[in-house]
């Protein structure tokens, strides 16, 4: 949130309420050559998105407190900022029909290769 704008790096908003997992997610974003902006709650994420129109991708955990918070965020992003790409991780099985258009869901534990590949695809 305090990062300076580096236009050469695509911005990825990482939404995660578990600090340990946040470290890994940010690690994946940087592995993909992108810049991570961290949000530790859905409300925080919305606030950032409202102020940062340059965010291209949102990378969110679907398993956050208030069990459906992550998915609600994803849906509202698709609704309010249709161009933003959505990458989600979940420990639960998901219903493909519930996933917002163009969104990608990957399981836990993390599959670094796929996560990095997805972020790079969205950033390209």
């Amino acid at each position: 949130m305090t990062e300076t704008h580096r236009p050469e790096h695509a911005l990825v908003l990482v939404v995660e309420d578990d600090p340990i997992l946040m470290l890994s997610l940010v690690d994946f974003v940087e592995n993909a050559g992108c810049e991570a902006i961290e949000a530790d709650s859905v409300a925080d994420a919305i606030r950032i998105l409202e102020t940062r129109p340059d965010i291209r991708t949102v990378f969110t955990d679907l398993d956050m407190r208030g069990s459906t918070a992550g998915m609600e965020l994803a849906l509202s992003i698709r609704d309010r900022w249709p161009p933003i790409e959505l990458l989600m991780v979940s420990s639960k099985p998901w219903d493909a029909s519930q996933i917002p258009a163009r969104g990608i869901v990957l399981g836990k534990p993390f599959d670094r290769r796929r996560i990095v590949a997805a972020i790079q695809k969205f950033a390209a």
Partner: protein
């Protein structure tokens, strides 16, 4: 008169025949003749006058005046000499001097007659029967005067007239008697025939009627019997009159007159038993036999027996009686054969009629009704048996002549069309079909009788068909309940099966609220045209219904308009198309928590079988729902567990990654991440079977798919359930093999692939053999030294057996792993 032979005419047969025909000889005096001789005496002035009839052996006087004898022999006859001249009066003035009479004892002795004049008695046929003569005891030389002669002739004619008249009267009386007799015989015969007709096949009654008839037709008979031939004996079968005590007596054919009659097959008149050549003396005594008539009773080709009438007196019977007896034996024969034929016919008729009436199968004879175009539109009842009434529940007396559509309004067209088809084609039709309006099933056979008629024989099979339907419904329900995985689907399936099976109009399942206050009905099944009542319903809005359900008993109402619980106001029930209903309770911990509901728009009687069926359905549904609930709960727990496990592994992954953040070589870090990931995949597969087992192929695909596209792997082997330990071991082993193949082996080359084949080998201990064969890759070599953790995992093999045969070849690795099958497979307890 020795010297004067009698004229030949005396012996003339025709003359004697004529005399005989007047039946006058030896009859008592009659006034008519007596008057004539009196008159003759006066007219001729003589003391003696006679009506003298000259028979073949004597002359007999029908009337006489002053003559002592009523007859004389012909030697004493003067009249005989008058026979030759029918035209004149014979006058002999002095009998003493006439050659024809001077030796006549009546002249030479008492009464010393001397004068004779006789006028011939000439019949209309010209025969001379005798004379009307006048006699004097003194000579009368002048004879008769002409007037006296004429008078005598006139009186002679008068005698003949008198004879004629007499004969005519006698003849008339005889004719009357004959007629009377014939009438009697006919009456007796008719009566006998009538009795035979009503004998009803009773042989003894037939025979008794014949004997009684014959006896009344032959008054001389004092006893009568019909003796039936039995081998070489005749048995007294029907006995009457004096023979009544002889029933059952057996007499030999060979030594009886009846036997003679039977053998000769001719009627026989036994004029005098005392001299009869055929009958034994003993029998004559025993039976008190004087005379008898016998006639054979013929039947078919032989003699059945003999009819005998007897009298204690000799000569009691005439030849005419023989004829009469013959008449009765004919009646007996006719009666017996007709009776046996009729009895046979009647027996057959009675047999079939009895069968028809006693059949437990229903039987109908129907006649089709056609419209103007000749098309069959209906049929009428021609005949039905009592069973028909029982099976249809309709009084059979009320239906004959009425049509089936009239008797059973709303009956299915098939009941007309199929029988029409039978009449048209003559092809027998077998059917099992329901008459919906009376809710009964029938099974039967229809067959053609003629161009318009058919017969149907059938049974009611409602119980059987419905029992079968219920049985098969329970089987279907079992299948559906096993396959379905949600309670909603299960209750809907059960509702539909119950509704269709019972022919109800609505069926469903509802949760009971409170203390049976209300029911929340889930989506219900309804027959076409019936609205759903899904939703909440308060029991008290429909009547006093809560009692039985609170006690855990089914609520059963056959008719909402008459049942005491609803009859006060059946309106609310009627409004939702309920005429009859069942609520079958489902209990939990002593409380009614749900009910299976069945409605019928019309009143109906719920049978014990139907209620038992509903109980069964409700129980099964309850069990099925409980199973699904348990499974659903288990699935929720599993999902939650898997979720927590994965989250934990993810946190472990992150901690390790961050811990190793300072390690410059990232490869081991990533290897660790991926091994955790592989383990997690194995758990995913295991979770599908609640961590009790996993499908081997699923385990392989899950871990291999993590590494590369699955089409680069050829899996070949029998799928099987493997234990959780085997699943984890197989996952880690394949993960390392695939990792190496991607790095160094066949999967590092674009066209390379891996074939993974497994099989079981039977032996002392069954073994699983797994082959990993890389093709299309570069040449590979064994790693240096002991290698890393990955190499160790590979050498450990399956489930730690260390039975791994590794061959580094030209196109990649080739490996064989072996493990006891018992360590791999899930143990079935």
């Amino acid at each position: 008169m020795n010297n004067s032979p009698l004229p030949n005419l005396v012996d003339d047969a025709r003359r004697l025949g004529a005399l005989q025909s007047y039946a006058i000889l030896d009859t008592p005096a009659e006034q008519g003749f007596d008057d004539i001789v009196q008159l003759a005496c006066q007219l001729c002035q003589v003391p003696v006058s006679l009506v003298s009839l000259v028979a073949g052996d004597r002359q007999w006087f029908k009337a006489r005046v002053d003559f002592p004898h009523c007859e004389t022999d012909l030697d004493r006859s003067v009249c005989a000499h008058a026979l030759a001249r029918p035209d004149i009066v014979l006058v002999i003035p002095d009998l003493m001097v006439d050659a024809r009479t001077r030796a006549n004892p009546l002249v030479t002795g008492e009464p010393f007659i001397r004068f004779y004049a006789g006028a011939p008695l000439v019949t209309p046929d010209g025969h001379v029967l005798g004379t009307l003569c006048v006699i004097d005891k003194v000579v009368r030389p002048g004879g008769l005067t002409a007037a006296q002669t004429e008078s005598l002739k006139a009186l002679a004619r008068q005698v003949v007239t008198q004879l004629e008249l007499r004969r005519a009267v006698a003849s008339r009386d005889a004719a009357r008697a004959e007629e009377q007799r014939a009438y009697q015989v006919r009456e007796a015969l008719r009566e006998a025939q009538a009795r035979i007709a009503v004998a009803g096949g009773d042989l003894d009654a037939v025979l008794r009627a014949v004997v009684a008839g014959a006896m009344s037709a032959v008054p001389a008979a004092e006893g009568g019997v019909i003796e039936l031939l039995d081998g070489d004996h005749l048995e007294y079968r029907a006995v009457l009159g004096r023979l009544a005590g002889h029933k059952g007596q057996r007499i030999p054919v060979s030594s009886s007159a009846a036997g003679h009659c039977a053998l000769s097959r001719e009627p026989y008149l036994m004029a005098d038993a005392g001299t009869d050549p055929h009958v034994s003396r003993d029998l004559v005594r025993t039976l008190g036999l004087g005379s008898a008539v016998f006639a054979p009773i013929l039947g078919g080709d032989g003699v059945l027996g003999v009819l005998k009438l007897q009298s204690a007196k000799a000569d009691a019977f005439t030849v005419g009686d023989l004829d009469i007896v013959g008449l009765f034996t004919s009646a007996a024969t006719a009666g017996l054969t007709e009776e046996s034929a009729r009895a046979e016919t009647r027996d057959k008729d009675d047999y079939w009629r009895g069968l028809f009436d006693r059949l437990s199968e229903g039987f109908v004879v129907g006649e089709v009704v056609r419209d103007a175009g000749g098309r069959v539109t209906d049929w009428t009842y021609v005949e039905v048996n009592p069973a028909w009434g029982d099976l249809l529940g309709i009084d059979p007396k009320t239906v004959v002549g009425r049509s089936v559509r009239e008797v059973i309004p709303g009956i299915e067209d098939a009941w007309v069309d199929e029988f029409a088809q039978v009449v048209e084609t003559g092809v027998v039709a077998n059917f099992t079909r329901r008459i919906d309006t009376i809710r009964r099933w029938y099974e039967g056979r229809a067959f053609r009788l003629d161009a318009n008629r058919f017969g149907v024989i059938f049974l009611e099979v409602t119980q059987r068909v419905e029992a079968e339907a219920r049985r098969s419904a329970l089987l279907t329900l079992g299948d559906r309940l096993r396959d379905l995985t949600s309670t909603a689907d299960m209750t809907r399936a059960a509702a539909e099966i119950v509704g269709r099976t019972l022919g109800a109009t609505r069926a469903g399942f509802g949760r009971i609220e409170g203390d049976v206050d209300a029911i929340e009905i889930e989506l219900d099944w309804t027959a076409p045209g019936i609205a759903s009542i899904a939703g909440r319903h308060r029991f008290d809005d429909y009547g006093d219904l809560r009692g039985s359900l609170r006690r855990g008993e089914p609520l059963v109402i056959d008719n909402v308009s008459t049942d005491p619980r609803t009859r006060d106001d059946p309106g609310p029930m009627r409004a939702i198309a309920i005429g009859a209903l069942v609520n079958m309770p489902v209990r939990e911990r002593g409380r009614t928590v749900a009910a299976f509901i069945v409605h019928d728009v019309e009143p109906r009687t719920w049978t014990a079988e139907e209620l038992a069926f509903l109980r069964n359905v409700a129980d099964r549904l309850e069990v099925g729902v409980a199973r699904v609930r348990a499974e659903e709960l288990q699935a929720v727990l599993n999902t939650e567990l898997a979720h927590r496990l994965k989250n934990t592994l993810t946190v472990v992954q992150s901690i390790a990654t961050q811990t190793l953040r300072g390690v410059t070589e990232r490869e081991p870090v990533e290897a660790f991440e991926r091994r955790v990931l592989a383990l997690s995949r194995a758990h995913d597969v295991l979770m599908q079977k609640s961590w009790a087992a996993a499908r081997m192929r699923s385990v392989m695909e899950s871990v291999l798919g993590m590494q590369a596209d699955l089409d680069r792997f050829a899996l070949d082997g029998p799928d099987m359930d493997i234990s959780p330990q085997a699943a984890l071991s197989l996952t880690l082993l394949l993960h390392e093999l695939a990792t190496n193949a991607l790095k160094y082996g066949s999967l590092s080359a674009r066209a390379g692939s891996v074939r993974i084949a497994w099989r079981t080998e039977q032996g002392k201990a069954p073994t699983l053999v797994l082959d990993w064969t890389e093709t299309g890759g570069p040449s590979v070599t064994a790693p240096d030294g002991r290698g890393g953790f990955g190499s160790k995992l590979i050498r450990m093999g399956l489930v730690g057996t260390r039975n791994a045969d590794l061959e580094y070849g030209q196109t990649g690795l080739r490996a064989e792993f072996r493990a006891p099958l018992t360590d791999i497979q899930i143990h079935v307890h």
